[in-house]
């Protein structure tokens, strides 16, 4: 799906009616999508000054995450997932996600080929050894818990995956697969409580027609790590702008979104290989500081122009600067 069309199915509720996303929000989703699609050309730096910052960072992240998710077929997802699964060492505590969404604790036993198909043996607390073949609908998730006691009753719960909302917004995706596939790479650095509240805001929906809208939250798509279950798959990481030493992340960050001038000024040296999107607002008392940093970066030798389709659609009342950093 082209980045500019990513937000087409997203609607929001106002006065009891579902309305199409306004142009400023579509722009931000499209911008996130374009950034994700052009990552291969090198780290980009985009600064956008908006009338207000509310929801902006999440909308950019939405574009990034949807853009990454949309081209992946089930087969591709399974291949990628198998590559990850095959690297888990024997004895590693895991959880098996059953097709109905229940979780069962277990540990990796072995990776083998059975009947010509690669797969993994998992010892589960429920039914002894279980064969999880590559491409199976039974999925494995890493578990941070100690290896389970196999005498206990299995713990079971369902993963929340808002299937209808995800299916309506991302028609190419299997909702259960989407919810259980770990595909991180997008970091949002800002005020955690604000971001969490916005992630949980229930006034969003998706659907081809107003009469057939599935309600959901931005979290259903973004799957921020702090808000999903401890061992569930996530796609976005929230990092507190107030933290002086954020914990290092155990994966490559593709896009870092800075929500606010202070977040950018303080943490701009992190995730250097990632694309940076800086979301700023006119009333931010630290705006001039962030603008100076952006202007300095934009004037640095070696910087290259960044052509984004979305540049032509900058919403009224907003300003944007975009470029690609020079070769490191």
């Amino acid at each position: 799906m082209p980045p500019s069309h990513l937000a087409e199915r997203l609607v929001y509720r106002h006065d009891g009616e579902w309305l199409p996303l306004p142009s400023w929000a579509s722009f931000l989703v499209g911008l996130g999508g374009e950034i994700a699609e052009s990552e291969a050309a090198g780290p980009a730096l985009v600064g956008v000054v908006l009338p207000i910052r509310d929801y902006a960072a999440l909308l950019v992240a939405l574009g990034t995450v949807m853009s990454r998710a949309s081209p992946m077929s089930e087969e591709e997802a399974n291949t990628r997932f198998w590559e990850w699964q095959a690297d888990l060492p024997p004895g590693r505590p895991v959880r098996v996600v059953l097709p109905d969404g229940r979780l069962v604790d277990g540990v990796i036993d072995d990776h083998t080929i059975e009947g010509g198909r690669p797969g993994t043996w998992v010892r589960t607390t429920k039914d002894g050894r279980r064969w999880i073949s590559a491409g199976s609908t039974n999925r494995i998730q890493p578990s941070d818990r100690a290896a389970p006691s196999f005498k206990r009753n299995p713990q079971r719960r369902r993963i929340r995956h808002a299937a209808d909302f995800v299916a309506a917004l991302l028609p190419d995706q299997n909702p259960a697969l989407y919810a259980s596939t770990r595909e991180p790479g997008c970091v949002i650095c800002g005020t955690i409580s604000t971001l969490e509240t916005e992630l949980g805001e229930g006034g969003f929906g998706a659907g081809p027609r107003a009469a057939n809208v599935a309600a959901g939250t931005l979290q259903d798509i973004l799957r921020a790590r702090r808000l999903v279950g401890h061992e569930e798959a996530f796609r976005t990481e929230l990092v507190a702008a107030s933290s002086s030493q954020p914990d290092p992340l155990d994966y490559a960050v593709h896009t870092a979104i800075f929500d606010g001038a202070l977040a950018f000024v303080k943490h701009r040296h992190r995730w250097r290989r990632a694309c940076h999107v800086v979301v700023l607002s006119e009333a931010d008392p630290h705006l001039p500081e962030a603008v100076d940093v952006l202007k300095e970066a934009a004037s640095a030798p070696g910087r290259r122009g960044l052509s984004l389709q979305e540049l032509d659609a900058i919403p009224m009342g907003c300003e944007l600067v975009s470029f690609r950093a020079g070769t490191p």
Binding site: Y12, R13, A25, V49, D54, S281, P315, E319, V321
Partner: protein, 538 residues
């Protein structure tokens, strides 16, 4: 937190905004405004004399009130009549002291006196505009100074009677996401921060101002990234450009100095007054401190020391928990609300800590004063560098002139060193080595009481801030918080207007006490003014 729909309405305003200008023709107001500029020029170097400095400050304040408040120019708030009488009284001695300026000074007062109850003022223009094109929704008159809010509201109420009365607000209230049907900004656009126009809270912005003041000039009319992008769509700036193009050309009064209309904080004058007090005052201990200008023309000195902090409310903080916090004094910024006591000791943490210590407070505080006093005596006798070196030779590794200076600070917040071994070395040096254990235990309790006091104050303030009407706080620029723990005294939150980073020695008793510069005293002799300038007015 705003809903998505509320956020969208702000973008809608930024996208559709239009800017209109209403200019009020009032030659007598303009003549007075220009006469002040003219008089300042004619004073030349004498304008820095205290006599004329206060005279001019009073006139400039009156001029700004007349131009920027949403009232008629002769409204009692401006204080025109009383002011003319008082300044004429002051000029009686002028013939002898400054005969060359007497005529010009009198002409300014004549110009002020001739400002009569004429119908043309920005707020009357706004009222007429509302009658001819009713916005049909919530409307506000936006003011550049929170002092203007209450009188402007009263004036609008009286003038518009039964009609729809717009709310008078200070521009900082526009930081909230509430959108308005129409906003009338009183005075020059220059007097407001740029974001109120580039992130507008209404589609219909009206600048209403006296003619001849270059009303549409913004503080910064450049797009931020214009150098780097071939296109941008900063509609509000374009709206201003269009309004400028549509504007009827008005010739500014040739004598009027537009850059001098807005009152600025006279840090130099404040500094001179402090120096005067130091030379003429008693043998008070001094500490390095810098002044902070507060809303409603109050000031306060805070100590310029490592680790010194004050309680502040930051309404721009997004998390409630972050709104009340102890802020390093060097991180104070305009827009924050600083909390001060207007009665009793300026340092309410000390007062509350003493209450927590109960009957132990006098003896423990006496110990604190004793070791610091002995060290101060050593410094007075031998000098800072020698004391620091001798302490270092005796094994106190953290002794250096900066730390020794801090330990001798009269501030009750400097209690002891962090490590016991350093403290024992100092006590041995000042002849209290035998009592080191007793002193250490007592002062640990004092430290603990200070920490508990800080937490307690923050907790109580958080509770009150959560219940407070934040719009009212923004509007008024100050608010009172009652803490029963604060010995019955209230805490006053003042919005910071400006912070001087220039530190200088000031008497210890001035620290953290808000004070007001007496602009009313322009008619008094300079020596009297200097004494009154630091009068603490709860």
């Amino acid at each position: 937190m705003a809903t998505f729909a509320e956020a969208s309405s702000v973008y809608q305003c930024a996208s559709d905004v239009s800017v209109r200008l209403l200019e009020a023709e009032n030659t007598s107001v303009l003549a007075f405004a220009a006469s002040v500029s003219d008089f300042k020029r004619s004073l030349g170097d004498d304008s820095t004399d205290l006599y004329w400095k206060n005279y001019l400050r009073t006139l400039k304040r009156c001029r700004f009130d007349m131009l920027a408040a949403a009232v008629a120019p002769d409204y009692p708030f401006v204080g025109q009549t009383a002011l003319v009488a008082r300044l004429r009284e002051q000029l009686r001695s002028c013939d002898e002291l400054y005969p060359t300026h007497a005529g010009a000074a009198g002409r300014v007062l004549d110009a002020l006196q001739s400002v009569g109850p004429l119908p043309e003022s920005p707020v009357i223009m706004a009222a007429r505009d509302m009658q001819t094109s009713s916005p049909g929704g919530e409307t506000a008159v936006v003011l550049a100074n929170s002092r203007f809010v209450a009188p402007s509201h009263a004036f609008l109420d009286a003038v518009l009677e039964d009609e729809q009365v717009p709310t008078a607000i200070h521009y900082s209230e526009l930081a909230e996401l509430k959108t308005w049907e129409r906003l009338y900004f009183v005075g020059r656009a220059w007097w407001f921060p740029r974001w109120v126009f580039t992130s507008p809270r209404s589609r219909d912005l009206v600048i209403t101002c006296y003619a001849g003041l270059d009303p549409l000039r913004l503080r910064d009319d450049e797009a931020r990234f214009s150098r780097f992008n071939r296109s941008n769509a900063l509609v509000p700036l374009r709206a201003f450009s269009r309004a400028v193009q549509d504007k009827e050309p008005t010739v500014a009064h040739p004598a009027l100095d537009l850059d001098d209309l807005e009152p600025v904080v006279d840090w130099g004058g404040l500094s001179a007054a402090v120096r005067e007090r130091r030379f003429t005052g008693s043998q008070e201990e001094e500490v390095d401190a810098f002044p902070v200008a507060l809303e409603h023309e109050w000031f306060v000195f805070v100590e310029d020391e490592d680790g010194a902090s004050v309680h502040a409310i930051d309404l721009t903080a997004e998390e409630n928990e972050e709104r009340v916090r102890q802020v390093d004094v060097r991180d104070l910024e305009p827009g924050m609300f600083i909390l001060l006591r207007t009665q009793g000791s300026g340092d309410f943490v000390v007062t509350i800590a003493d209450r927590l210590l109960g009957p132990l407070a006098p003896s423990h505080r006496a110990k604190q004063a004793e070791w610091k006093g002995r060290l101060r005596h050593a410094v007075d006798t031998k000098g800072l560098t020698v004391v620091a070196r001798e302490l270092e030779e005796r094994g106190c590794g953290i002794a250096n002139p900066v730390n020794v200076h801090r330990w001798t600070s009269p501030s009750a917040r400097v209690i002891k060193t962090n490590k016991r071994e350093d403290f024992e070395k100092i006590l041995r040096y000042v002849g209290l080595g035998d009592a080191a254990d007793e002193y250490w235990k007592a002062l640990r309790k004092v430290t603990s009481a200070h920490l508990r006091a800080g937490r307690l104050i923050r907790q109580r303030l958080l509770e009150q801030v959560e219940q407070a009407d934040l719009s009212a706080l923004r509007r008024a620029g100050r608010a009172t918080f009652h803490l029963k723990e604060a010995d019955g005294g209230a805490l006053e939150a003042f919005r910071i207007v400006d912070v001087s980073r220039h530190s200088e020695p000031v008497p210890h008793t001035l620290l953290r006490h808000p004070f007001k510069v007496e602009t009313d005293d322009a008619g008094r002799a300079a020596s009297q003014l200097r004494l009154d300038i630091f009068e603490i007015r709860p």
